[in-house]
Symmetry: D2
Subunit: 142 residues, 4 copies
């Protein structure tokens, strides 16, 4: 991170870096703009369900974090963000070399920010695997 990053991006990247589960999954932020964030992770058999597909909850983990970063990207300095609820539809069995989650802000609110996003195979052109809609709230950052 350099001085050239925006405050929002620095803050999001710091929050992301403090999410131990992201390191555990090998995930990283690969795109950041206000209101749109992408997170990538490689496939890892340690996180699969019974048929060798990425477990739906792990899909939710990576997509939820992308949505949370997107929500944080449009909040004022010093904000933290928590998901209060999300809903996800699984569209295809998830088995690719790499996964790309994108989160977008649908509506930034004073209290609640609603985000949407999805998981794709490999990259932004990959087939869609799951789609999420979630509510995020702003909290004072510790």
């Amino acid at each position: 991170m350099t001085d050239s990053l925006s405050e929002a991006e620095q803050r999001s990247r710091e929050i992301f870096a403090r999410q131990a589960v992201m390191a555990t999954l090998g995930a990283s932020i690969v795109h950041f703009e206000p209101g749109r964030v992408r997170v990538a992770m490689p496939h890892d058999n340690a996180f699969t369900q019974q048929d060798g597909f990425l477990h739906a909850g792990i899909i939710a983990t990576i997509v939820d974090t992308a949505l949370g970063c997107a929500a944080g990207s449009v909040m004022p300095a010093g904000s933290g963000v928590l998901s209060i609820e999300f809903k996800i539809n699984m569209l295809r069995p998830a088995r690719a070399d790499r996964y790309l989650a994108e989160g977008r802000v649908l509506k930034a609110g004073r209290r609640v920010t609603v985000c949407q996003g999805e998981l794709r195979e490999n990259d932004a052109e990959g087939r869609i695997l799951a789609s999420m809609q979630a509510s995020m709230i702003r909290v004072e950052s510790p």
Copy 2:
């Protein structure tokens, strides 16, 4: 597992054992009856978000598996089960020594089985941390 287990319980325990992510999380089935299954896991900092709480997606992972096992517990022999969607509300920050997820069948259908459940702190008397409602479908087991 012994001969005394029902076919449904054997099948659920075998499917659970094939979910690599459950071993990764240190999770196990601690209660099994038709239509109601409980899964426990210990806290592990490797799966936390930025404030040291269990990540919402990991909560979803464990609760979704409990609901899937509950759905499978009322399906005919030879059935596999897949979640097609779930929705989860986070009710409190999740930080306990141990977590208990319970899944229950709300309505078993020919095509879709709807389940509900929650995550609690420590055990069945613990405070509720999250609540999930999900749709499961039956698939032919491989």
Copy 3:
């Protein structure tokens, strides 16, 4: 309404009475206690979908109002309540003489109150038709 009603019940009944859609549906509050409210409505062909069943959105209307009343029942005096999101699973085609929606508070929060509830055929012993999980927020009552 008499002086013997609690402030919360009076407030909930007044808010309910101001929901024009409840009169349009012929709905009424039939049970009120803190954290649990029941709303009943008769079947009316004017609100059906293509097969003569109550439309899923009308089911959502009545259940959402029951959950909102339940949320309001545990909020401080002068509170209004708005649903910010809900998720509903339809469990059976809805066709009965009368429908009973029950809303319950799962977790009352300072900012967000999470509720659950369902629609049943006829009365509290009727078969379950749909199940909802929702987030409500407190607003200053006008």
Copy 4:
């Protein structure tokens, strides 16, 4: 309807016409293409909540029907469609002269078709009021 309508559009329009609740709401299909359907309705005080806004359940009614029509638009001849679940986030209080719901197919499946859509003020350029994600299943048309 004329001979020039596709079978899918004819079928969707016939199903829509059999939804009594759509006539009750004054709603009509205003755009139809495979995978994308728009439904409009005027504001009507008979369907409002306590502050004069369109009730969240009525919002869900109109958006759910738009999503169902979108799902039906990509199904084979003779198909009926039922929503098995939906989730909706309310983004702004809904009070406009007219409302436009759009439903889109996110993934057409053999068993389950997942759709997304939203309600806007007035027309396709209007502000977004609510966003829905839903699962539809194919049924044999009677």
